[in-house]
């Protein structure tokens, strides 16, 4: 089977980098397209030039892994067609649509590995659009990438391992972490222990962060839910609640998130089939062990396929590349088969750990039912929970795309990235359906906003009218 086209990798985080490395090691020269200025994704995001913090300071316990991944890509540069600052905004007819420095172009592919990563999964609370409230990932970028704290008195609120990690990173860097509010209860975390023990090293790391925070006087509250971010034009205090009642914290910054949300828009435009994933609590592209999707020539890896963390991203990136190679050659070498099996083994163990994380870090109990009507769910279009409920009731809406069409939720610039999880939870709750039943928001090109000026080139290229 001869393939004339170079394989394409979309996304240069750990998954994309290991995929590229594997392809190069096997004699190919992939195109690596990445939206960011520099490789590393979010977790191993590299600071700009002239920053002096060491990798240890930047990445803590992950510094060795970060070093390995980042230097791998550095070494690959002469052997790949690396396209940073390049957004893939659409795909059609075997060609990706790229946007780079205001110019559009197309890139033909016969095999593409999509490693588009994830963003924070947000459950909003009153006042979350106030200046001073940022996502957990955003707070981490501020510190890692810019050497800044998001405020002088920071509260971390949400759930998931990232909550503890970023709070720890902030406190370690000298920021004043006022409190950490974890919606999960200690009993949730205890119940998850058996799954979490599938990866004792990670569990130990997590426990270390918790212990360190305690030891350094950071108040850690469990079963704690943010109620309202208050302030005139920016954040001044946070109202929150736990079993003991309602409390107020003076603060000028809140970092919030409840896990991560896969960026699957490109997979959708590639016409991949999706399936409900009960552990992730999301509709995700169908993707088997090998990284193959329902579309021939399209592979997925990393958090963009399913949120399993950075290590699993490296493994699945390599695995998807091995699959691509065997599909390209029409057969797999014994070495590749063995390696793929080993990688699958690692990933399977990680998935057990992931199941444990889901159990250890549940959403606030009855979250959707407790959201007040005046809560802004869609921050782009300023659609409230009440608007959603009213639309659903008046128009008999049961499905998320219909809810979007009638209420405008998810119609703004971010195309639902920040609000779709919450909107789906609210729709499911008020219609008495499972989260699965309300369906998934369909992706529409462009994947991110594109300027009109790019299109000025298009007509000069194909001058004839559409007939």
């Amino acid at each position: 089977m001869i393939q004339a086209l170079a394989p394409v990798i979309v996304g240069a985080g750990p998954a994309g980098i290991r995929a590229a490395q594997t392809l190069v090691a096997n004699g190919l020269r992939p195109v690596v397209v990445d939206e960011s200025a520099n490789w590393g994704g979010q977790i191993y995001r590299q600071p700009p030039a002239h920053f002096v913090r060491t990798k240890k300071e930047l990445y803590g316990f992950e510094s060795a892994k970060a070093q390995s991944v980042l230097s791998a890509m550095q070494g690959l540069l002469p052997h790949v067609d690396y396209r940073p600052h390049t957004l893939v905004w659409n795909v059609q007819g075997g060609q990706l649509d790229l946007l780079h420095q205001g110019q559009t172009s197309t890139l033909a592919y016969s095999q593409v590995i999509v490693t588009s990563g994830a963003t924070d999964r947000i459950l909003p609370f009153r006042g979350w659009t106030l200046p001073g409230v940022f996502s957990l990932g955003g707070a981490q970028v501020a510190l890692k990438f810019q050497g800044c704290s998001i405020g002088k008195k920071v509260v971390f609120a949400g759930s998931g391992p990232l909550l503890y990690l970023v709070a720890y990173q902030y406190a370690k860097a000298g920021a004043h972490v006022v409190a950490l509010l974890d919606s999960g209860k200690l009993s949730d975390q205890v119940a998850a222990m058996s799954d979490l023990l599938a990866q004792p090293a990670w569990l130990a790391k997590g426990l270390y962060y918790v212990a360190w925070l305690h030891a350094h006087g950071v108040a850690v509250h469990r079963g704690a839910v943010p109620l309202e971010a208050k302030g005139q034009d920016c954040l001044e205090s946070l109202l929150w609640q736990d079993d003991r009642g309602v409390h107020s914290l003076a603060c000028d910054a809140v970092a919030t998130g409840y896990g991560l949300r896969s960026e699957a828009q490109l997979a959708d435009l590639l016409d991949c089939q999706f399936v409900w994933n009960a552990v992730q609590g999301a509709w995700l592209p169908v993707c088997d062990e090998s990284g193959r999707t329902s579309v021939s020539g399209v592979y997925l890896a990393g958090d963009g396929a399913s949120v399993e963390g950075a290590d699993a991203a490296e493994w699945s990136g390599e695995r998807a590349a091995l699959t691509l190679l065997s599909d390209r050659a029409g057969h797999a070498t014994a070495e590749h088969v063995a390696r793929s099996a080993a990688l699958s083994g690692h990933i399977t163990k990680r998935k057990i750990f992931g199941r444990g994380l889901a159990r250890a870090f549940p959403d606030p109990l009855n979250w959707a039912a407790q959201t007040p009507d005046d809560l802004l769910v869609c921050r782009c279009e300023e659609v409230t929970a009440g608007d959603l409920r009213q639309t659903a009731a008046e128009a008999g809406v049961q499905e998320i795309n219909r809810l979007k069409a009638l209420s405008r939720v998810g119609m703004g610039r971010c195309q639902g990235r920040m609000c779709v999880c919450a909107a789906a939870e609210i729709l499911a709750q008020c219609t008495g359906q499972s989260l699965e039943k309300v369906g998934r928001l369909r992706a529409q090109a462009p994947i991110k906003p594109i300027p009109f000026t790019t299109m000025l080139k298009a007509e000069s290229v194909s001058g004839k009218d559409m007939a």
């Binding site: 659409n90 059609q92 219909r402 594109i450 009109f452 000026t453 299109m455 559409m466």
Partner: protein, 389 residues
């Protein structure tokens, strides 16, 4: 398990045509069952440009368009909502003197239909509307035309019909239909059986399949106009814009987003369509030319839909040529949004009185006298493919 419903009228298709027909039939006291494969007003009726205009239509459509114009004026009373409908004016732009001549010709031909068209020079237009680009040589303004939000209006017709007592079934695909001297029998994929005396074929781009079921083939083709929308922008455009000779159509919604359409996308499958990159490029390049102030704006979303086109770009409205009780209302070639409510009213008249008070002979299905094989044959590409809604 089959559940059986009997009603005077069954309607296939819950777009603006079918849903308005259901509403008007209820007002005339008929029982109605409407079967919609997806959600009412979610297809072409809900994703079109949103133009509510008479200007530019073929002369034979103008009586219907005038009738629709009156109904649009009553939208709040009819639907209990405004649907962002504004009579802000529709301006058809000329980019050459030949275009101006064409607009003047249309002005003459449409006299007597109350369009009240004003032909204005490019300079006059730019002094009134400074956001128009230099390539505008002139234009024809229909001050009482306008635009609305199809995402809200089309489903609202179905909602109003439901509130008026129509039996509306969404996500209900008709899998077979038959006619006998006892009337029509339809079955849906969920096991619903509907029996009726009349059947309205309002199935949009898929109406050809319904017609075929009754041995009546039409050369309908599915095409896919492309739409794009910007982020909210400061108030700029006070009119709905079109371009003489084809090109783009553009309007600014109440919230500030500019909605722009034109060119053509492609079908992913029978039910789904996507904008093509070529179309997106063309539409947006032409927008910047026409509306230079959009230079720094961004497109945040594009989409396409599935519209039914007959070769003459005129719809099929009126009784079946083969089956008594079957009445057609489809094939609006991308221009059905404004006409829709009038067509719905006409269909209800055809059921209740056997005739339409608005002339529709030109839209008879009988004009397609050739017999086609069940798999629709290809036919000549229409010359002009840019259409406003």
């Amino acid at each position: 398990m089959t559940r059986r419903l009997d009603s005077d009228v069954a309607i296939i298709g819950g777009g603006i045509v079918g849903a308005s027909a259901a509403l008007f039939l209820r007002k005339m006291g008929k029982s109605v069952t409407l079967l919609e494969r997806d959600f009412c007003g979610s297809r072409s009726s809900g994703v079109n440009y949103g133009g509510v205009r008479r200007q530019g239509r073929s002369i034979i459509q103008l009586p219907l368009a005038q009738r629709a114009h009156v109904i649009w004026g009553q939208l709040p009373q009819l639907l209990g909502m405004e649907g962002e409908y504004q009579r802000c004016g529709h301006l058809k732009i000329a980019r050459s003197q030949a275009d101006v001549a064409s607009l003047e010709d249309y002005q003459k031909r449409s006299l007597g239909y109350d369009l009240d068209l004003q032909i204005l020079s490019g300079d006059t237009l730019r002094s009134r509307y400074p956001w128009l680009g230099q390539s505008v040589v002139g234009g024809s303004l229909c001050a009482q035309d306008g635009h609305a939000n199809p995402r809200l209006v089309s489903p609202a017709f179905a909602q109003a019909a439901k509130q008026a007592g129509a039996d509306i079934h969404e996500q209900s695909q008709v899998i077979d239909m038959a006619h006998s001297r006892n009337g029509f029998v339809l079955h849906t994929h969920k096991g619903l059986e509907v029996r009726s005396r009349y059947l309205l074929n309002c199935a949009g781009a898929w109406a050809g399949f319904v017609a075929q079921s009754f041995a009546e083939s039409v050369p309908i083709e599915a095409l896919h106009p492309v739409m794009a929308v910007t982020e909210p922008l400061r108030p700029l455009m006070t009119l709905s814009l079109g371009v003489e000779g084809g090109g783009i159509y553009a309007r600014q919604a109440v919230r500030g987003n500019c909605v722009i359409g034109g060119s053509r996308g492609f079908a992913l499958d029978d039910l789904r369509a996507r904008p093509s990159r070529e179309a997106i490029g063309l539409v947006l390049a032409r927008t910047v030319e026409l509306l230079p102030d959009l230079h720094n704006a961004h497109v945040i979303r594009t989409w396409s839909g599935t519209e039914g086109y007959l070769p003459d770009h005129e719809p099929v409205i009126g009784p079946s040529g083969t089956t008594p009780g079957l009445i057609h209302g489809f094939g609006f070639a991308g221009s059905g949004f404004q006409l829709g409510p009038a067509v719905g009213e006409v269909l209800s008249e055809l059921v209740c009185r056997g005739s339409s008070s608005t002339p529709i002979e030109a839209f008879s299905i009988s004009r397609f006298t050739k017999v086609f094989r069940p798999s629709l044959q290809p036919f000549q590409q229409p010359k002009e493919i840019f259409h406003e809604n």
